[in-house]
Structure formats: structure tokens, C-alpha cells
Amino acid sequence: MDAIIIQILNGLDKGSAYALIALGLTLIFGTLGVVNFAHGALFLVGAFVAVTTQRLLKISYEVVDESKKDFLGNPLVVDTPYVHGWFGQATGDAIIDWAVPLSIILAIPVMLFIGFAMERGLIKHFYKRPHADQILVTFGLAIVIGEIVKAFYGANPIQTPAPSALRSTVDFGVWLGYEPNSILYPAWRLVYFFFSAIVIAAVFAFLQFTTFGMVVRAGMADRETVGLLGINIDKRFTIMFGIAAAVAGLAGVMYTPILSPHYNIGMDFLVLSFVVVVVGGMGSLPGAVLAGFMLGILQSFASMNEVKAIIPGIDQIIIYLIAIIVLLTRPRGLMGRKGVMED
């Protein structure tokens, strides 16, 4: 039993990332009807916002420290981050330590802005063009964003550690009444899961309980009628694009301690997120979230040694296999609505 719980836990963090990206993809698809191949690039940008924040916080100036001497007896020159000067030693260190969660503050406006800019500057012009063109131009954009990141940050993965308080493991088994040390789970992954649950809940609440969300949902159901009622639906959809970008960006920010970001990380997640969206059902938000967690957990079950002993390598292909089976048996996906992308 505890082995099963471990695998479910292991699947949660990947599943959360899939769910967040797929949620954004579905939002964009449901509102604007655009298949956004650059969504992985938004995840990537989010991850590198975290990297940048960490670097910004570490910007230092040199201080001559009279109390320390080097071996010749001269005073040492010590690099001191500016945050030390501003907030004092202890607070400054804490701020640097918590760089990744803090970068959320920076990531939200940055991602919203990038989302708006993308929609207004590029994608707006592609509504009337075929779906293939939309795929192609966003695919090109994804390449460009990835390469720009590579030009600035190099091709190697960049270590972005979690706050030291969250680097340890949580003894999850004790909470459930198992022996101590039977189920150990990295604290940050638990944080990631709760974080994504909160983001997902926030997006749903926003759509469900605000007037703005109501209008957006109405627009998703029938864009033309909403427009005829005198509501500027385009503007609201642009804002939804920004929100979808922010969701992907936040997923990227918080994922950095789990997987050191490199310029290709977006593409890796994108392909899987597409599969997630299709399995969940194009245009269905709960479907995307459900499929994200389901596929993440199934993937971690498939990578159990007991399973691999029966079917070797199943962990590599299980997601695609499931996608194929789902699409062939339930062509609309698990929770797809009628009339969305049916041709």
C-alpha cells in the first residue's frame, strides 16, 4: 500500500505541471480558438524569470572588511549583495534563500505583459487563418523564444535551489499512520502540488464567481452573441490569454527547484501538455486538470520496477499509448464538449 502512495505522490509534481500548462492551453483554445504551440515557451520564460530573480538578488558590491585578514595581513575584500546593505545580513540572506518563491511577484506582471504582447502583436492576426497557420507561427515563436533564452543564459541547465527550509524531505507516512521513514517525500514537491492546486482553484473561482469570468464563459460558449450584446469580448479574451500565460509562467517558476531549467525545457513539457489537453478533451478545463494529474500519476506508476519487469520501457511510452487509446475510443477526449474542434 505504501508503495502505491509513494507512486501517487511521485506523480503529483509532474501531474501538477502538466495540469497547469494544459489548463492554460485549454483556456487559450477555449476562448480564442488558437492552438498555442508557444505555450511551452511561456513555461520556459517563467522558469527563467526565477533564474533572473535569483541573479538579481545576488548582485553584489565589494566591501573592505577590516575584521578579516587574508594571509598577507591585508583587509579582505568581501562581495556583499545589495540586499544585505538594505535589509541587514540576516534578512538579506533569507531573501536570497527564498528567491524562487519571491520571483512569483516578478513573474506575474512579466507573464501578463508577455501574454498581452503575444496576443495583440502576433496571434490577433491569425484568427482568420487556418489552424495549421496558427500552429506554425506559434511553433516558430517557440523556437525563437527558446533560442533567445539560450543566447542569454547558455545551453546548460542552471541550478535554482529551493529555500533551504524546504529542501528536506517530509515524512509523509507518519501523517497517514505508517511507520516513520516509510514514505519520505521532498518538501518542495509537496509545496509545488499545493501551489498548483491553489492556482487551479483560483482560475476556476475567477471564471465561476466573478462577472468577468461569467462573460468569458459566455464568450466561450457563443462569442458572437456576447459581442452582439455590446460587450467587448476581444478585450476580455486578451486578458484571458494573459492569465493563461501567467499560469504557465508560474508553473515554470515553481518547477525550477525540481528540474534545473534549460532552454529546451518548454518544448519537452509542451508535447506532453498537448497530449494532456487532447486526452482531457479540447476546450474542457476540468478535463485538462484531471488528465494532467492522471497522466502524471500513471507515468510514475509505469516507472515502478515491478511494472517495468513485466513490460520493459513502458514508462517511456505510456502517455502516448494512453492518448492513442483515449482518442480512438472517446474521440472528444475524457471530458470534451460536443461541437469543439470537431471536423
Binding site: 527558446g146 487532447v278 517511456q316 492518448a323 474542434m341
Partner: protein
């Protein structure tokens, strides 16, 4: 002639001449000249032109005619390569076994994938093909088949190649240990000096060129056939086609398999030029590259994909060979400050950053020139041509894209 009308025959002739005279045409600059870096007439690059040309022609039969965007074409390429290398391992290095085998294997795989994927259309089709290709990649890269059969089939990350311990039943004692066509070594080459110029003629390239010409001929015939009309009907309105009582499924499957066969041939030729292969040939970025080629050249036109393949491979070679020193040389005529600014702006685009150039060019093409190079050529032609002169897609062959 050859069952082609006058215009198509002229186009076909131009392609023949270009393919056969490529070693001369692509080497317009003297070897010692300053512009020698822009020469493209050496075997490895010309082979890439021809092989990717074949690949793009095949992809275009699917995407250009029917509008079904496959994001998993590299799976057939990789399958073809694996089949070819297995033929080397089992029989001998004669490509007369390898290339048919690669075509057959890719064809069988495309029947399987096509039958399943074509049950959906639009974005679902793209994602299904993508999923299949990624699955094939995972299977090849972790050698799943090999783990079932207990012997390496795709040889995982190492990649498949021929070892001395392989059976090679038909390899005679002291036989040729390089890919050959009935003992004609494909790596044989003749260099001809002509003044300051040097032209390299390689057997392997000519094998590719002949296949390119055959592929191109077949593609013209398909474009002009009733079958091609059916595929175009699928693109313009599949529903209406179905309502008229025509079942589009068999046509679609046939188109998919044909383009799979082309990809298999290309994979076989790759293995014929270099007798090893690896899983990364099937990775989805490879599929993406095929898409880029077709779009850049002009999907749905006859010559477009070949031009696109050539343009991308040429750009890759030229742009990734550039570096800051060469750029400084180019902008030496500017004042110092401006020169540095110009170099700094271009720096991320050259050398290792060539994918940035590719992505940017591709985006610009999709945004402003959806018809690709061919449409660009038409527009230029219209600009300079006589007023009222009718331009057809085929006229764009005169653009010097390669």
C-alpha cells in the same frame, strides 16, 4: 512528354539539370576566393539537399495536397534508416537490399500509424502523429523492441551500426565494407580542377540525385492525376466531398502511406550515405524541421518543398559557420561604434544561434508570405514581369534559392 504537359515537362527538365549539374552549379566561387565559404557543392551538403528534398516532396503530398499537418514524419525517416542498417547487418553493404527494405518498413509503419491517426482530423491528427512519433522515438531510444527480443534491435542511445560480429550472410571474403551499389563504392569521388574552381562528383550524391528526380517525377504525376484532385478536394472541403458520396478515407490513407514511403526512402538514403543511425533521427524536432522545409519553400507547390529543403540546409551550413570575426570583416566599412553595434545585433543569430535565424525567418515567412519562397518568387516575377502576364506556381523555379 513522359506523360507531362509542356510546362510541367520544362519544370521537370530544370530539376533534372539542377540535380545532375549540382556539383558545378553549387560551386560558383573559386576555391581560394573570398567567397569560397558560400560554395555548397561538396558531397555531404549536396546529399543533404537531395535527401531532404525527397523527404519534403513526400511530406508535401500529404500536407500540401490534403492540408493534414503531420507532426510525426520523422518516425518514418528513422524507421527507414534502421531498416537499411539492418540490411547491412544481415546481408551486405549493397544498397540494393537496404533501400527497398527501408521503403517497405516505412510503408508498413505508415499504414499502421495512418490507419489510426486518420480517424481524426485537424489538430487531433497533428497531435496523434506527434504522439506516435514520440512513441517511436522512445521505443527506439530505449531499445524497447530489443528488450522484448533479447537482442538489440535499435541499440538504444548508442545508435545502430554494423559490427564485425554481424552475420552479413552475403558479404564475400574481403568484400567492400562500405555502402555500395553492386560493388560501386558510394564514397568514390572524382575531383575536377578547372582554373581556380574545383568540382567534386561523388557516386553517393548521384544516387541521391537520381532518386530525387524519380521522386519529383512521381510527385508531378500525383499532383496532376485524378487521385491528386481527390486529395485537393479533401483540403478544400472534406465534408462536402463525403456528402457527394465519395469516401475520402482510402485516398487519405494512400496519401499518408505515399508520403511515408518517401520518408522511408530518404531514411534509407541517409543510411546509404553513412551506415549508422540513431533514435534522435525520430525526435519530434526532426519532424518539425520537415514541416519548416515545406512551409518555407511553399506547401502545395511542386518545387517549393525542394527549394525549402535546400534553403534550410544551405542556411544551416552558411549561418552556423559565421562568427564574430567574419561579421567584423563585413562591417569594417562602418565607423567603429556602429560596426560594434551591428555585430552585437547579429551575434546571437550566427554560429550556434542559427536556430534563432531559422525560427525568425520561418515566422516571417508564415506571417507575411504564407506561400513560401515560391510565392515570393511569383511576387517578384509579377513586379518585373509584363502587366497582365499570367504567372503560374511553376514559374517560380527561376528564383535562385539554392
Amino acid at each position: 512528354m513522359l506523360g507531362l504537359n509542356g510546362k510541367d515537362f520544362r519544370l521537370f527538365l530544370i530539376v533534372c539539370v539542377m540535380a545532375l549539374a549540382a556539383p558545378i552549379l553549387l560551386n560558383p566561387f573559386p576555391v581560394d576566393g573570398a567567397l569560397a565559404q558560400f560554395n555548397a557543392g561538396y558531397p555531404a551538403l549536396m546529399q543533404a539537399f537531395a535527401i531532404f528534398g525527397i523527404l519534403a516532396i513526400g511530406f508535401n503530398i500529404l500536407f500540401g495536397l490534403t492540408g493534414y499537418l503531420s507532426f510525426g514524419h520523422a518516425a518514418f525517416l528513422g524507421a527507414g534508416s534502421y531498416a537499411a542498417v539492418w540490411m547491412y547487418k544481415l546481408f551486405n553493404y549493397n544498397v540494393i537490399f537496404a533501400i527497398p527494405a527501408s521503403i517497405i518498413v516505412a510503408g508498413l509503419l505508415s499504414v499502421l500509424i495512418g490507419y489510426v491517426s486518420l480517424r481524426r482530423s485537424g489538430i487531433y491528427f497533428s497531435i496523434l502523429t506527434l504522439a506516435f512519433a514520440q512513441m517511436m522515438y522512445a521505443i527506439a531510444y530505449s531499445d524497447l523492441l530489443g528488450r522484448f527480443f533479447g537482442t538489440p534491435i535499435t541499440n538504444g542511445e548508442t545508435g545502430l551500426q554494423v559490427y564485425n560480429s554481424d552475420p552479413q550472410f552475403l558479404l564475400a571474403e574481403g568484400g567492400l565494407a562500405e555502402p555500395h551499389l553492386f560493388t560501386l563504392n558510394l564514397n568514390n569521388l572524382t575531383k575536377i580542377q578547372f582554373g581556380g574552381w574545383e568540382f567534386t562528383f561523388e557516386v553517393g550524391y548521384y544516387l541521391c540525385a537520381i532518386f530525387l528526380i524519380l521522386s519529383f517525377y512521381l510527385s508531378i504525376r500525383i499532383f496532376r492525376s485524378p487521385f491528386g484532385m481527390m486529395l485537393r478536394a479533401v483540403k478544400s472541403n472534406q465534408n462536402r466531398m463525403n456528402y457527394t458520396g465519395l469516401d475520402s478515407k482510402p485516398y487519405m490513407l494512400a496519401a499518408f502511406v505515399i508520403s511515408g514511403l518517401y520518408a522511408g526512402l530518404a531514411g534509407g538514403l541517409m543510411a546509404a550515405m553513412d551506415p549508422l543511425t540513431g533514435g534522435e533521427r525520430m525526435f519530434w524536432t526532426a519532424s518539425g524541421e520537415i514541416v519548416l522545409m515545406s512551409i518555407l519553400g511553399g506547401a502545395g507547390t511542386l518545387i517549393g518543398p525542394v527549394l525549402g529543403a535546400g534553403a534550410i540546409k544551405y542556411m544551416e551550413k552558411i549561418v552556423s559557420a559565421l562568427n564574430d570575426n567574419i561579421l567584423h570583416g563585413w562591417f569594417a566599412w562602418m565607423p567603429d561604434g556602429m560596426e560594434n553595434v551591428a555585430v552585437a545585433i547579429l551575434h546571437p543569430f550566427v554560429g550556434k544561434g542559427w536556430h534563432l535565424t531559422l525560427g525568425s525567418v520561418f515566422m516571417l515567412v508564415v506571417i507575411f508570405l504564407p506561400g513560401g519562397i515560391v510565392e515570393g518568387g511569383q511576387r517578384i516575377g509579377r513586379l518585373f514581369g509584363r502587366k497582365g502576364a499570367t504567372q503560374t506556381p511553376t514559374d517560380a523555379t527561376t528564383t535562385p534559392a539554392e
